[in-house]
């Protein structure tokens, strides 16, 4: 399994995403924002960070990067794509996922260990979880509040496209406690919390996040 991990200027969690891929026995392939090239990978991770400083709007500039044009095309053809935190914001800006992420309702950056409920275990990235399972992974973001209009929210609920929901106190004002969503096809997933920081209880709160990368392994093997 070869998994591309994109680096934009300002990307921070690319090293972690690469490590997570390796922990799931995959080969992590670094992808550069300026290249129109996915290097023949089986899947792509758009990792967290502050691409281009995120000074305009999170993900607003990164979305236009040459590599993203390739990601959009591949995603539309069914390639598994995972956006974590800033990656989620970028996928939303690129219209691969609906809605947008806005400033946390309390206006502070929040870094904490966050319980999530797995609402949909049939996406390319969540098959290893039990439906309804609760997992503990880090959340660390200043603009993590998920927003969408009522129609979109209804569509997401009706089509079972909410992948993760926050358990307990809503950390950022997300509508419907949404922590992560998927596209209609289930190959593109975006979430604000960081599964790649929860692959080893030594350096994270748990290894609950590893399931996402192992799920991908299953998906790719099956394909």
């Amino acid at each position: 399994m070869r998994v591309g991990v994109i680096t934009f200027p300002g990307t921070l969690d690319d090293v972690d995403a690469q490590r997570a891929v390796r922990y799931a026995d995959g080969e992590a392939v670094p992808l550069w924002h300026g290249d129109h090239d996915l290097k023949g990978v089986d899947a792509v991770i758009v990792p967290g960070g502050f691409s281009y400083g995120d000074y305009l709007r999170c993900g607003a500039i990164a979305r236009f990067a040459p590599v993203m044009q390739e990601v959009i095309e591949a995603a539309n053809k069914g390639m598994p794509v995972l956006g974590i935190c800033n990656g989620f914001q970028i996928l939303a800006e690129a219209h691969l996922l609906p809605g947008a992420l806005v400033r946390n309702h309390k206006l502070h950056f929040v870094c904490r260990d966050q319980w999530l409920k797995v609402e949909n275990n049939s996406t390319a990235w969540t098959t290893r979880y039990d439906q309804g399972a609760e997992i503990l992974v880090p959340l660390k973001s200043g603009e993590g509040g998920y927003q969408a209009n009522e129609d979109t929210l209804k569509e997401l609920e009706d089509e079972n496209r909410i992948v993760f929901r926050y358990v307990g106190e809503n950390p950022n004002g997300s509508r419907n406690n949404i922590a992560g969503i998927t596209n209609a096809r289930g190959n593109v997933v975006g979430l604000m919390p960081h599964p790649e920081h929860a692959i080893d209880a030594l350096t994270g709160p748990t290894d609950d996040g590893l399931g996402m990368f192992l799920s991908l392994l299953d998906t790719v093997v099956k394909a």
Partner: protein, 600 residues
């Protein structure tokens, strides 16, 4: 161009008055500059000497005392030390071929003026110091001191500083693995923002700041140079102060940080190091190019020629003195062999980093700076960078020190048994003892995936070698109230606390850094506190057998004539050969644990 003060002009007008006093130079200091140069300095030279000979850059009041660190460090203590006091940051060999560098620095005053940006640029500055050693910055810590918790201004300061530390550090992708939050009245109007950064490199990649080899190129890279931080130097510009539109140039009162530019600068620099195309490197911090060029030249074996008009500017109409003194953030200066310049530029292009060849290492022993072909600086670099004035300031134990010490807890009423519960509740709820989660929750502690311990642990710990599991632990500590009571013992206690906090993680303490925050050195009582604290810290280090590898002195922390509590923040670095054997803080992880009290 006509009103640029050149060396030729300075020779022709020896009696021209210069605003050296406004720039903070004393009569005898100005006289010494004239003696060194054999003429009056040009405006640009005066700007350089005045910033480089300031307390902040020259350590002129502390030097005589800091020597004691060196005198008390034995060869055995030094055995793991690859670089020590005098370099950008101390470096220790931690085994497995890894070297670790760490340092703590203050950004106190700017953080009072504009808390967010002051704290943010404080983090940015210390991170560049670590980068300049050739290391990848790996984590930060932030020992903070604020005024009274219920004072209105404290809110502004706390909110801004915490957001600034977080905003910059989070955006750089550096986990925050610890720090302190202390409230005390004495910091009202004078908060302390100390920032620590730790980084690692392979031993053979250690870069020291020097410019050797005639013909080598000097490259400035990173952000453009603006009018930031040149407040004092503006007095030099009285004649050229009007820009073309005839308006007075506006000077920014605050430096704004750009963490994205710094993040890119870090990755770009690390790629340059990895390719082996950097001979010497220096970050641009306080005193900007004045500092970087004179220090690089002074530490090398030749001279240097700089073409100042090549420096990419952000503001119009900047004078040579202003360009030299600008403290614009997010810049670095590298020395590169001529045949590597193209490769250097290529890496900078990849990262979209502006890079400009601004100078060259020369045969001679002078630092010569020209501006459109006219010589505006011609000085022996050592006299700027390393041979500044030294003061042995008067020291006087405060008259009320005995009284202070005599006022012991013995005179306090004992709480009755039924008051104890209330007392514990009050204490637990007091801002100095309460949970610091409101602060630490704003800091990313996970990024890079190497954080083994962070809040609420006694010491932070990161993994350095992913294959070998080797790691380091760090803690910073200081109790200003103890130090006020007895500066010698107080500094020792700060060291002992940091040492214990590192030990309890399972790591072995190996080295010490410090940030000595004090009031005015012109106050003999403050100088006494300082001298005592340095002695205490040095003697403590000798007893424990670990060296001070670097640090920072911050004087003039006072409001009016009232100094802050003497606050020698001590940072201890420990090594652990396998982070999987770390000891987490807290009890109750497993049933049947036994609680033991060690010591008296």
């Amino acid at each position: 161009m006509s009103n640029v003060d050149t060396v030729k002009n300075a020779e022709a007008t020896p009696d021209q008055e210069q605003p050296y006093k406004e720039l903070g130079l004393k009569d005898d200091e100005y006289a010494r500059i004239k003696e060194i140069l054999g003429r009056r300095p040009t405006d640009a030279e005066l700007a350089m000497y005045s910033v480089m000979w300031s307390e902040h850059c020259s350590y002129k009041s502390s030097k005589v005392h800091l020597k004691y660190f060196g005198e008390t460090t034995t060869d055995e203590m030094r055995s793991k030390m690859l670089a020590g006091i005098g370099e950008n940051a101390g470096v220790v060999d931690i085994g497995d071929g890894w070297a670790v560098t760490f340092k703590v620095e203050s950004h106190n005053h700017p953080s009072y003026v504009e808390p967010y940006q002051g704290a943010a640029t404080g983090v940015g500055g210390i991170v560049r110091d670590i980068l300049a050693m050739g290391a990848r910055p790996l984590a930060v810590m932030d020992p903070l001191r604020f005024g009274k918790p219920d004072a209105e201004d404290t809110k502004r300061v706390v909110l801004g500083i915490v957001a600034g530390v977080g905003g910059y550090g989070n955006c750089l992708g550096l986990p925050n693995i610890g720090g302190e939050v202390v409230f005390d009245e004495s910091y009202q109007g004078n908060p302390l923002v100390n920032a620590l950064c730790v980084g690692a490199m392979k031993v053979e990649d250690l870069h020291l700041a020097h410019a050797s080899g005639a013909g080598n190129k000097v490259i400035l890279y990173g952000a453009r140079t603006g009018l930031d931080g040149i407040g004092g130097v503006s007095v030099l510009a009285s004649e050229t102060f009007d820009d073309s539109a005839g308006k007075r140039k506006k000077l920014p009162s605050v430096q704004v940080g750009d963490p994205f530019t710094e993040k890119v600068l870090i990755e770009c620099s690390l790629e340059l190091f990895e390719k082996g195309i950097v001979v010497g490197i220096q970050d641009l911090g306080g005193a900007g190019l004045s500092c970087a060029t004179s220090e690089l030249a002074s530490a090398g074996d030749g001279g240097m020629h700089v073409w100042l008009e090549r420096v990419p500017l952000r503001a119009t109409g900047m004078t040579p003195a202003e360009i030299l003194s600008s403290e614009s953030q997010e810049r670095m200066c590298a020395v590169v062999e001529p045949h590597n310049v193209d490769a250097f530029m290529e890496v900078c292009r990849k990262w979209d980093v502006i890079a400009t060849e601004i100078g060259e290492v020369t045969e001679g022993d002078r630092l010569v700076i020209t501006y459109h072909d006219e010589v505006v600086v011609d000085v022996p670099p050592r006299t700027v960078a390393h041979e500044g004035p030294v003061y042995d300031r008067p020291i006087q134990r405060p008259a009320d020190q005995d009284e202070l010490q005599a006022n012991t807890p013995d005179s306090l009423p004992r709480p009755a048994n039924d008051e104890l519960l209330e007392l514990i509740k009050t204490q637990a709820a007091s801002p100095n003892l309460a949970s610091k989660r409101w602060v630490t929750q704003q800091y990313d502690r996970y990024v890079r995936g190497g954080t083994v311990l962070a809040q609420p642990s006694d010491g932070g710990m990161i993994r350095i070698g992913e294959e070998t599991h080797r790691g380091v632990a760090l803690s910073t500590d200081c109790n200003g109230r103890y130090t006020k009571l007895d500066p010698y013992e107080g500094a020792k206690l700060a060291l002992a606390e940091a040492y214990r906090n590192v030990s309890t993680t399972g790591a072995t303490p190996v080295a010490v850094t410090n940030c000595l925050n004090f009031g005015s050195p012109e106050d003999p009582a403050v100088m006494w506190q300082f001298e005592q604290a340095v002695k205490g810290l040095a003697d403590g280090c000798a007893e424990l057998g670990i060296p001070v590898t670097g640090g920072n002195v911050s004087f003039y922390n006072q409001t009016g004539s009232t100094a802050i509590l003497p606050t020698p923040v001590v940072g201890v670095l420990g090594v652990i050969d396998d982070v999987r054997r770390r000891i987490p803080t807290g009890i109750g992880a497993e049933a049947g644990e036994t609680l033991l009290l060690l010591g008296e």
